[in-house]
Symmetry: none
């Protein structure tokens, strides 16, 4: 899942980003409203984590623009203010959720995941398919009842394949959804990651290769 964090306090922004990455999310960061709009124009995000008080362009503006674009990106508003009025006006702008600072990190992760779920067809919190069971919140995977230990990237790739619900996912889509924008587009990490993933999942094979197109879990 692809997330954009917009927050002008750099240390906080980077901390959030790093934390989310540990949960196998692909995270980009912007430190002001301008940069945020630019990133949103170039990439497609499932969730936008948005501070309200931003330089150059106010968070409310960014939010309005995202909502109007009907891109399917969900907005999670952060704000220092504790007042209910803020919450109300934030939601009025079309934000999908609201989290007052300070917040517990686990809370943030849970909400991001919940929003990410909504951005697709309302899928259950646990993904299950072809003998694979994946719990995004606990970051756990089982194959035929046995727990399998996956790295961040392996987990992210498997999650995307499961979310596709049998549809073919191209390598490029995997790159876009499981890696952030700094990745070299000519890389073959996808191939390598798929190999280790398949090895860890063990026989019989679950991930199918569609030659010249991509991969899928039937």
């Amino acid at each position: 899942m692809r997330v954009l964090v917009v927050e002008d306090e750099r240390i906080l922004a980077d901390t959030i980003a790093e934390g989310l990455r540990r949960h196998s999310l692909a995270v980009d960061v912007a430190y002001d409203g301008d940069a945020a709009l630019e990133r949103l124009g170039v990439n497609e995000y499932d969730v936008l984590i948005l501070d309200r008080d931003l330089p150059t362009i106010h968070g409310d503006e960014v939010c309005r623009s995202v909502v109007e674009s009907r891109s399917g990106t969900r907005v999670l508003m952060l704000t220092a203010a504790v007042q209910v009025s803020d919450r109300v006006s934030g939601l009025a702008l079309g934000a999908d959720d609201y989290l007052p600072k300070p917040f517990a990190f686990a809370e943030l992760v849970a909400r991001v995941r919940a929003l990410g779920r909504r951005s697709r067809t309302a899928s259950p919190p646990i993904l299950e398919r072809a003998g694979i069971r994946l719990d995004p919140n606990r970051r756990e995977v089982q194959r035929d009842g046995h727990f399998v230990r996956l790295s961040r990237k392996e987990f992210a790739v498997l999650e995307e394949l499961l979310r596709a619900e049998g549809a073919v996912v191209t390598s490029e889509q995997l790159l876009e959804r499981a890696w952030d924008e700094h990745i070299d587009p000519f890389t073959n990490v996808v191939r390598v990651t798929l190999m280790t993933l398949r090895r860890k999942l063990g026989p019989p094979p679950v991930i199918e290769t569609v030659h010249g197109v991509g991969y899928r879990i039937p």
Copy 2:
């Protein structure tokens, strides 16, 4: 995804085209406004990369014509000018995005991708006809209930024939839609691909030859 690059500096145009092809996009090139309009009349593109200063017909004209045609083609304007006024007027003409020269190639790719996503028509339903069932998302084909494994080209050709809904599709049309313009127009790949396709689909025959015209699935 299908892209048309319109740029009068040939070296730049060819460089862009080649780079995009490396990213698995089907790319055509036009070197002036006239040629651009001609290509646009003949083929359907997801994204049009358009230089503003063009011989014969100005880029603004081309842009306006594309927008008015409501073809669903997204326009990415290139321009040497750095002035904001240009950006404004470009977007006023209906361009969907704007990139000032010089630009980083990765940036171009990213934006083309973003536009292509927007152009994509809603996820295609399953195509069914004459005992053939084709699911574009899962990349699966069934003949009378039996799964058939097809290569990329075979799949593309079959998809075009099914989309025609019984109408005759000429070899030229197949070449244009399932291949990009690189292909030698005198080739007989279509014939060859049709042969392997028919063989894989097995008897009784489903793809009919209309002598001197093309092919169809009645």
